[in-house]
Symmetry: C2
Subunit: 181 residues, 2 copies
């Protein structure tokens, strides 16, 4: 969980990074940035900030903000009904992102969150810089991590059903609880 | 048709506008910007420049560039097989765009290309500025026009099949011919 105050601070920080990256956003949009700690209570270590620009029954457009050295936990987008699952293209706008997918273990530049070796099983490393893109097929396991300067990315995808995402870490709750104090 | 030289000049101009709008793009991307005159041989009057960032079997992400006072002809995205047709969200990044859709005639700030009254039948006017968005359902007729300073927009959509788009103007050929001289 995070407190209302933590959420506001993270929203403000994320909005500043989005604008710094050259992406214009309104104050109303900034106020609805999602701050996700995945129920792990350590936002700066494992978490993500998400500005959803478009969400229809067919597509979803998001700006993802990673604070310095923040890690988005390993997950995948499962089939839902007749939908094979979310197909997602990441395009990096600012910062460097270490992206991990299935394949030969080439893990080198990122780090595994302390004590969570079993929660990060994909070890094929892609070092992504601004204008680099990657398309993930439905069901493809992945996780990613920002370097020291943090990162801003677009996520262009088919319809997102975040609450149905599946995670390797059994302790994760996708929907973050926000408490008053 | 356009000449190879005209195409290169338009690509260069469009790439500069994209970068001016804060959108980073590689030189390789700039070199593949599509320049469309819709077969009307008057690019600066009726045309559009398109940088396709993502094109999969499910989604399409484009940056649309409109030169000053350039008009994109009225068109719609028809059903294709089991697909109801392209659903498209426009988000303006730079400049002002006059956008025309079905509804009450509120035409006021834009202009109709000389002598082409019958080719622009949608007259409900939306004045769109940076961060303004609009989602078009499949099949919805629309056209748009940039003001004096030109415009840069994102088009976030389900799969694009541009060659199948339908136009009110019977003289339009969607695929632009590029000739050597």
């Amino acid at each position: 969980m995070i407190t209302r105050e933590q959420k506001k601070a993270a929203q403000k920080r994320a909005a500043a990074m989005i604008r710094q990256a050259g992406i214009s956003t309104t104050d109303a949009e900034a106020d609805r940035i999602e701050v996700a700690d995945f129920g792990l209570n350590n936002l700066d270590r494992e978490g993500v900030q998400v500005l959803t620009l478009v969400q229809t029954e067919r597509i979803s457009i998001k700006v993802l903000v990673m604070f310095p050295n923040q890690t988005e936990p390993e997950h995948w987008h499962p089939p839902v009904g007749g939908d094979p699952g979310k197909e997602e293209t990441i395009r990096v706008i600012a910062g460097t992102v270490y992206f991990y997918v299935s394949g030969e273990d080439t893990f080198e530049q990122g780090f595994i969150v302390d004590g969570k070796d079993g929660c990060y099983t994909m070890r094929s490393e892609l070092v992504m810089k601004p204008c680099d893109q990657l398309t993930l097929a439905p069901g493809e396991k992945h996780w990613f991590q920002a370097r020291d300067e943090g990162a801003v990315m677009y996520s262009f995808s088919t319809i997102a059903r975040d609450a149905l995402d599946q995670f390797t870490d059994p302790n994760i709750e996708r929907i973050t609880k926000v408490v008053d104090e």
